[in-house]
């Protein structure tokens, strides 16, 4: 069992608090020991590599790490900071309320009265959406630093960004009115989506519908070709990840025949962990958590637009962009599909391992028969 000894050593260090880089440890190729030369009983009985891998996955796996949120640290409960904090919360709630009042009192008239004059209406609605997003950001005492040239409104371009929470969208939207593609949510969020976000040209999808993909791809393509549609923002990870890792990008955004402009978003966890763990809290609770923390600090980088290189497949293109974003935002890349949160991995991963072991067993059999 000498081949598995090395692996077992790493599993003890995984149990240490200061975890080493588990990415070096990800299963690659065959986990099943491939017998060489003549087959012996030991070769067939020794299932230790597969077992070690299974145990490794039970003890710590890279997929679950992507969605691990840190518990909030309550360091603001002392006599000096507490009153200040209370004032802060009240002030923020006030700011948000004022923001909504201003927004609704402008948006509703504009939306209905300017029905005929589409161009002007769109311009004003865009400005108003940017305004309400700024109010949202202010209500969390958001300190956002934008780096790089601001997105311009040109046809045939899409923007992609890594995804940590729905607030990513608000943070980006306060600078530029993007049209975004989102999962339709229930409750008040859904209401906002169908009324206000419609006006900036958002596209909806439903994760659970299979046929939905084709319809959505078509809508994406149409939107990106239009000259006076708002620039399209896509989160290719498809789900919220905890801002330390990035999961695989879905290729939908990369096969539209457009220039792809990467945007990297990195949150500074110093005051709050902005990761929205949708399994643990609703969006409302998440917003409340943000509003009752000291600040939301983040950096946004608008990176250099990229085009599909000759001979590059959309999947390779997606990986290249994921590289660019992950390097800029300091994220570790993980080879899992974000949707595995909701579904099982396809059997082909297992089959690949089975196939290589089967082939070596057969080879051993042939050698015997010679």
């Amino acid at each position: 069992m000498n081949s598995s000894e090395g692996k077992l050593k790493s599993s003890s260090s995984e149990l240490d608090l200061d975890r080493p880089n588990i990415e070096d440890y990800l299963p690659s190729g065959s986990s099943i020991q491939e017998p060489h030369g003549k087959l012996r009983l030991r070769d067939l009985l020794d299932i230790s590599p597969a077992l070690t891998e299974a145990a490794g996955a039970i003890v710590d796996d890279s997929f679950t790490r992507c969605f691990k949120s840190n518990p909030p640290e309550l360091w603001n409960w002392n006599v000096y900071l507490f009153p200040l904090w209370c004032c802060g919360v009240v002030f923020r709630a006030l700011v948000l309320t004022i923001g909504w009042i201003i927004f609704l009192s402008c948006f509703i008239p504009v939306h209905f009265l300017l029905k005929g004059n589409d161009n002007l209406r769109k311009k004003m609605e865009r400005a108003l959406v940017e305004l309400i997003c700024s109010f949202f950001v202010a209500s969390w005492t958001g300190v956002v630093k934008y780096h790089g040239p601001r997105p311009s409104m040109r046809p045939k371009q899409v923007f992609v960004a890594n995804h940590t929470s729905m607030i990513d969208f608000i943070i980006l939207e306060q600078m530029t009115a993007f049209a975004v593609i989102m999962q339709k949510h229930p409750g008040w969020v859904g209401l906002l989506q169908s009324t206000i976000l419609e006006s900036v040209g958002c596209i909806w999808f439903n994760r659970s519908e299979a046929k939905d993909r084709e319809i959505v791809t078509r809508k994406l393509r149409e939107h990106s070709q239009g000259a006076d549609n708002n620039p399209l923002l896509i989160f290719p990870e498809g789900t919220c990840v905890n801002n330390q890792y990035s999961v695989m990008f879905k290729k939908g955004a990369f096969e539209l025949g457009c220039t792809v402009c990467p945007i990297a978003i990195k949150y500074n966890k110093i005051f709050v962990d902005a990761f929205w763990n949708s399994r643990k809290q609703s969006f409302t609770m998440h917003l409340l958590q943000l509003m009752t923390s000291w600040a939301v600090v983040c950096d946004v980088w608008y990176l250099e637009p990229q085009n599909l290189r000759p001979g590059e497949t959309p999947i390779e293109f997606a990986e290249r962009i994921r590289d660019i974003i992950s390097v800029r935002a300091g994220l570790k890349k993980v080879p899992w599909d974000g949707y595995l949160k909701y579904s099982r991995p396809s059997p082909k991963h297992r089959e690949r391992k089975q196939q290589s072991f089967a082939e070596s067993v057969l080879r051993g059999l042939e050698l015997e028969e010679k």
Binding site: M1, L8, K9, S11, S12, L15, D16, L17, L26, P27, S31, I32, L39, R40, L41, R42, D43, L44, L45, D46, I47, S48, A50, L51, T52, E53, A54, A55, G56, A57, I58, V59, D60, D61, S62, F63, T64, K68, R279, W336, L340, R344, P345, H349, R350, E351, K353, Q354, Q355, F357, A358, E359, V361, L362, G364, L365, E368
Partner: protein
């Protein structure tokens, strides 16, 4: 400790350590507990098959179903005992014992030809025919001095390993 409270007392840790024959240090047991609670999403005190399968790295393992029958319904103490064969302090004997347990699905201390065939089936899937599997296994068994009808016990496994 049967219900998942997020705190382990010193007593609990020592109890678990004893149960697994000191295969893990106390710090390791604390980390394993964190992990156990992370996997046990509904807080039932044990990790169900579904919850294990939600770890994609585990689900793609060819032996996952077999391991699930051994893992299903284990509470934390038993979970740690299960993993003790993978501790760096585990002896080769303990590791071979674990492998034997995986093969011996009915737990009667004897591994039959069919048991071995089943595991080989898990590892090779549809890429070898049943007939070829039997052929390979019979041949290898005969070379090691056994027959199709032999019932292997622990000592046979140990002998095969050190061959």
């Amino acid at each position: 400790m049967g219900n998942t409270s997020s705190m382990l007392t010193q007593y609990d840790i020592e109890e678990v350590q004893q149960h697994c024959n000191n295969a893990f240090s106390q710090q390791e047991i604390v980390s394993l507990y964190e992990r156990f609670c992370q996997l046990d999403r509904n807080g039932g005190g044990f990790v169900s098959g579904e919850e294990f399968l939600s770890v994609p790295e585990f689900a793609v393992n060819p032996l996952s179903q077999r391991l699930l029958t051994m893992l299903d319904g284990l509470n934390f103490k038993e979970f740690v005992a299960f993993l003790s064969a993978f501790s760096p302090r585990a002896t080769v004997q303990q590791k071979i014992e674990f492998i034997f347990k995986v093969y011996d699905s009915d737990g009667n201390g004897k591994v039959t030809f069919n048991d071995m065939l089943d595991v080989l089936h898990d590892l090779t899937g549809q890429f070898i025919s049943e007939h070829q599997r039997e052929q390979v296994l019979t041949k290898v068994l005969e070379e090691a001095g056994y027959t199709k009808e032999s019932l292997l016990v622990m000592s046979d496994f140990v002998k095969a390993y050190h061959a």
